[in-house]
Subunit: 203 residues, 4 copies
């Protein structure tokens, strides 16, 4: 009835989220290249080559786990939302643009695991994803878009849990970025403080 022009069904958004996450998860492995062998039948040479690719392989499983966690988290939040407005759709699409970007950040980290610059791309990408998740639920709460059967206490508890997760990651990422320069470590500290203030003021 009062559905504005931004109407879009939750089922469609969830299908897109599932699709983009499934593809991002599967694309991660494309960065792990089949090695070129001098002796095609030498198992020793193959394992030696795979040993060199080990950081990339570990980065694959680690990043897969990150995407899996984002997927579980998103659907658990979205399950509490009854209907979407334009902002929720925009936040979700921003979330998906970072999810699609994530395989690139993971490839960088897998190729240059000892390069502080890789973390300078990976960490902000994760941070952006976390902030999208926090913002998604916070906006739905403020605008009354949550399932009306959800008790206010539970909605608050979820919101605070989201904030705590983001705060933990933000402070934890700060020292690893220090090698890139003081400003790289200060920005997450300031952001973390903002999130702590938001946590304190949440009720």
């Amino acid at each position: 009835m009062t559905q504005g022009p931004l109407l879009l069904s939750k089922a469609r958004l969830e299908a897109l989220v599932d699709g983009v996450l499934a593809i991002a998860m599967t694309i991660l492995i494309l960065e792990v290249k089949v090695p070129e062998l001098a002796d095609r039948r030498s198992a020793a040479e193959l394992f030696h080559a795979l040993g060199h690719a080990l950081p990339t392989l570990l980065a694959y499983f680690f990043s897969f786990g990150m995407l899996a966690a984002f997927w579980v988290w998103h659907h658990r939040l979205a399950a509490k939302v009854e209907r979407l407005d334009g902002w929720l759709i925009a936040i979700s699409l921003g979330f998906l643009s970072l999810v699609s970007f994530f395989p690139f950040a993971a490839a960088l980290l897998g190729r240059y695991p000892l390069n502080a610059g890789s973390l300078g791309v990976y960490m902000p990408a994760v941070e952006g994803i976390l902030l999208c998740q926090v913002g998604f639920f916070a906006h739905a709460r403020r605008r009354g878009l949550l399932d009306p059967d959800l008790p206010a206490a539970e909605s608050l508890a979820i919101h605070r849990r989201n904030l705590k997760g983001a705060i933990f990651f933000t402070f934890w990422s700060s020292p690893s970025l220090l090698r890139l320069g003081l400003i790289w470590a200060v920005v997450p500290l300031l952001l973390g403080i903002l999130l702590v203030v938001a946590l304190r003021r949440s009720r």
Copy 2:
């Protein structure tokens, strides 16, 4: 009962649209290559290389936003359609063929952002997608395939909004194509005029 041989459920079409768009969005990032570094541990060199890749990265987020907008738009139009005929399916598949083509156009623009020829591929691809969207809804309106609960005034308003969006883009794209030759700028002008006529005659 009177379902002809072209019957296909809307749920299937929407699933294909979600799938193709999710993949096109995710494939965009494959064009952003992990740079080769001389000093694997040098963050400065990594950022320098990423700086060179900045146009490609910006093109990634810009093109992701375009695909996201097409996705929202398509589902909002399709939500008003009650059933599909052969033309609606054909238009949707044409739309999807251009969506699948879009990552190539985006890669071209990301690699050669200052080359007018890149726009000569990108702009017509976007134009074709817009015309598919306009045609999809216009056909559904004319053939009475829309949700019967949708007031005629609202259906007209949506149709006119579609036309206005396409007209805006068509005229806006014209000057950027002028560098490729006069004919490249005249064609969108003529097309824009045709769309204005269609807008005037819509009722």
Copy 3:
């Protein structure tokens, strides 16, 4: 109740079909490579390079259309099927293995359009897909797995239409394969005759 161990819901199969076809459609474009330009700002050089890539581009749109037709056809047949047995699942997965293979055949045809060998891969892939579709519906008919509300006359008409489509393609493909040797043209002729016999005996 009597659901054997091969039970699998139609919804799951349709989701997999949608997924594989969406990806195959989108992967087609990965074969169209962004050209390397000597003068990065030269639109003339870009269009010259794209002109060379024209067969690949045309093959992209042609093969996209083929996949789109397979998708429409599969869902129209599957819509008449009420439940799946092991054979229907096996045929569908064989169909999907050829659909996934199709981008490779399309890439071959796009790269070597004047090489008769490309047709020697492309045509059998299409033929295999057509035979899977014919076999899918024929098996469902024989085993009583179709929607019981579907009149027998309509089921027969669909079966005959499937056969006619396959017969047309089989005979049509024969001369194009003649350049590869007599045997390449005779096999489709014999297959076409078998299909004609099946058509005659269908009732």
Copy 4:
């Protein structure tokens, strides 16, 4: 009511499983490269090149069949499960991480079919997938997450069938790994014995 924080709907999990498997199936073909020909019109040269790619092509269809079997198996098990807990989600995501990894293992086997090291990657990947499937159902049985209408005898029969499949593969893979060293063959033997014990104690 008593839904804990790990709640996630089965529909979402099945959609992700369908997505990841559809992509893994389709990505397999990306490893089969279009050959470079000296004489672009020579069908003989093309077939000669494809003959060299034959192991890769056979590995494609074989690995596609493996993924198809995993897909059928997963959905048949998941169809018996009524609701998910955290462990079922974690096991499913582990399963998907190996499914996504599978195209890499398949590419290795296709490129180096005579290299024992390829089997040393492929076999453990398959083994891990099988153990995820066994563990998925075993956990759902133990925690009472199965459909309550499923008779205990049938649930037991499914569990034993899962175990037998894993046992067969585990013992069958052991000799093929012997060429990599004794330890490679002993580990699956020990694992197989553990699974046999589990089978004996199942009731």
